[in-house]
Amino acid sequence: MSTTTLPPSEKTQPVSAPDAKTSDRAKSERKLGWLLAGPALVVMLMVTAYPIAQAVYDSLFDFRLTDPDNRSFTGLSNYGVILSDWLWWRSLLVTGFITLVTVAVELVLGFALAMVMAKALSTIRPVLRAAILIPYAVITVVSAFAWQFAFDIQTGFVNSWFGWVPGISAETDWFGDTWTSLLVICLAEIWKTTPFISLLLLAGLAQVPEVLQEAAKVDGASWWQRMRKVTLPNMKAAIMVALLFRTLDAFRVFDSIFIMTGGANATESVSFLAYRQTISRLEIGLGSAVSVLLFLAVVFIAMSFIKGFKVDLSQTRGDA
């Protein structure tokens, strides 16, 4: 059975796209478009583009907040310091590990939850959705504290509840070792953001045309075949959006690490590294350079996803 999706919409050009000879109507529509989107664009430039440009500019200086008189231009030397330091590469590895593990687990779990929500009886569906979404409503810092308290060797309940599991005893110090610390951090992240991914996938599931499912059933396709050949291909855009959002989110992980380990036991992420240079050390130049590298990494991830999935989001609008 080959992959089955609906043919793309005939209408591939945006409605407001001007023709070669722009008519008056198209002109006025374009003007209206700018009027409507303009304020948002200005706000975006103010809150996003300006700080990024400022960070790029600051990253070229040796600048300590408590010593502004000795600010000096050092070119790209801050980047040289960062890229030649093992701490940067270790933080990148830790961040990559957390991102990979959490996003992979969340995708599987989130998809399962989305299926449950999609198939649940209409009477219990609202309750089920609310129940699944509760962790996402919890503020990340609060969730991090909750997980820290649960696993704390003195006041936590995990060691006493799960003492029967091999390897867990009253003396298991979860935050005293790199791998156990990372495990708890990942668990907290997964618990907190799986609902988000499942919600996006639920929207994707709702977009899969029922007519294709029925046609596949008539052709005798099994559940697994329908999933692989009909459901997943038609959800490609939704899966990409879910994965992209969560990957970018996971890559900027900070709160859980800050609360649970404070960066001890080699659990520091790239965001944490930027925080330490900029806020704790007040080295604005060095911290800005770390932030710029983090920004570039995020842009790289976003571009790879869009290229890798070969999905043009502008083409999928309104297809459902």
């Binding site: 940067w88 003396e171 036991n265 050390r281």
Partner: protein
């Protein structure tokens, strides 16, 4: 306000009535009038009594009460309002510095942790202390608190309360181990006693400021210092970590961490968790601040702890590294800085004198458990009744060694926390060398921290 809202609602339902424009103009004028009066109220002090904002560290309400008392005493000269800073000392520093770097004039008085004072002073964030004030606020004050308020041989902050760590122990344990606690004790003796009695030695091994506090006490007691040659030029700072005293400090840290007496959670142990462990059945010894005594009494009062536990508490001067060297207990507490951009620095300094008066320090000691920097407070009968260990605290403050005073304290402390953590990984042969290399590279801006 509600009228404006009603008008809009009406207009939305029925479309703009003929008088809509007029009403909208009236509503607009009313909103503008309200906005301008709000802005006027925000922008002026009304020409009345100046308000001083005191940024305090979180406590049990003692500083707010002292602010109220001093406002009353000022008799209309000024009003003190308090604003609470984050709990962690490092975060208090971060918040204050970011505001001060932006020339925030709302910061009149600040409760400052002593190691951060040189950085504030060097950056020009502290208003100079008037000479007459400096003379009065250092009268009868313990030497370590004056040292902690001094930078470049000048008093730059006002000593308020001075904290120090004591060696807390269970009298029953010490007795069974045959330790004479009336005499100075060494870390070796304590660890040996704890091993014999199968109890814990509570030390703060968490990767946080507490680890630097512990390490500083060890190296100072061994006769050395974290910084041997200080300088305002970061690349000229000379560290003493690889000195004999530095190596000895690393040996003691390693010995405690690997002795099995520091508990399974040493690498995450802070002041609170070690106090909790000390209250438990395995509690034997604990180096900690005096708060653990009122904490235990409060637990008894709340019915969550047996009265026999605090009755068994004993206290002594902090342990020494070697028999023939004196102890160098940690020095902490809070000193008051006056913001360089304050609009009323003279009034702010007058307020600090009121805040740090003998009566207010005694009040703060008794109610919040924070020891005074004023030595005369320790003779107060009420203080002695509530804190029978007050004389030991005063003796400890006289011996106490402040952490290194440098505008780059954050880098030095951060470097120590990175290399000396977890304490069980400390190797006397390699760790001091590695820490020195890291901190030097960080100070020369050649490495990240």
């Amino acid at each position: 306000m509600s009228r404006v809202g009603d008008d809009n609602l009406e207009a939305g339902r029925a479309g703009p009535p003929p008088s809509y424009r007029r009403r909208r103009a009236v509503a607009g004028a009313a909103a503008a009038g309200l906005l301008s009066s709000v802005l006027a109220a925000c922008g002026s002090d009304g020409g009345g009594v100046p308000t001083l904002t005191w940024y305090t560290n979180p406590d049990s309400g003692g500083q707010a009460e002292i602010a109220a008392r001093c406002t009353e005493d000022a008799d209309g000269e000024y009003v003190i309002e308090t604003a609470v800073l984050p709990r962690e000392a490092s975060q208090q520093r971060e918040q204050l510095i970011r505001r001060l770097a932006a020339n925030d004039s709302s910061i009149d008085i600040m409760s400052l942790d002593p190691p951060f004072i040189p950085e504030f002073a060097e950056a020009g964030f502290l208003a100079p202390v008037p000479e007459d004030v400096a003379g009065r606020v250092t009268e009868d004050v313990v030497e370590s608190a004056i040292e902690g308020s001094t930078w470049d041989d000048e008093l730059v902050a006002v000593p308020f309360w001075a904290n120090t760590q004591l060696l807390w122990y269970r009298e029953s344990v010490a007795e069974a181990a045959g330790l004479d606690m009336s005499q100075p004790v060494t870390w070796d003796e304590i660890v040996q006693a704890a091993q014999e009695q199968d109890v814990q030695v509570g030390v703060q091994g968490i990767r946080a400021e507490a680890l630097t506090v512990w390490f500083n006490a060890l190296i100072e007691s061994a006769g050395g210092s974290i910084i041997e040659e200080n300088s305002t030029d970061p690349s000229a700072i000379e560290l003493g970590l690889t000195s004999e005293a530095g190596i000895r400090a690393a040996e003691v840290m390693n010995m405690i961490a690997t002795s099995g007496t520091a508990g399974p959670a040493l690498s995450t142990a802070n002041e609170d968790s070690t106090a909790t462990a000390f209250e438990g059945p395995n509690g034997g010894f604990n180096v900690n601040y005096p708060f653990i005594y009122p904490r235990a009494l409060a637990a008894v009062e709340a019915g969550t702890m047996d009265a026999s536990v605090p009755e068994d508490y004993g206290w002594a001067i902090y342990p020494r590294v070697d028999e023939d060297t004196p102890a160098a207990p940690p020095y902490g507490g809070i000193n008051l800085g006056v913001g360089a951009f304050s609009q009323h620095p003279d009034l702010a300094y007058a307020a600090t004198e009121c805040i740090t008066s003998t009566e207010n320090q005694a009040y703060y000691f008794v109610t919040n458990g924070n020891p005074a920097s004023d030595t005369t407070v320790y003779d107060d009968p009420e203080v002695l009744e509530q804190f029978p260990m007050a004389p030991t605290i005063r003796d400890s403050l006289e011996l106490a060694a402040p952490r290194p005073q440098t505008p780059y304290y954050s880098e030095v402390s951060g470097g120590i926390q990175r290399v000396y953590h977890p304490p069980s990984s400390v190797e006397p042969e390699t760790t001091p060398e590695a820490a020195t290399e890291l901190i030097n590279a960080v100070l020369r801006k050649e490495q990240l921290l």
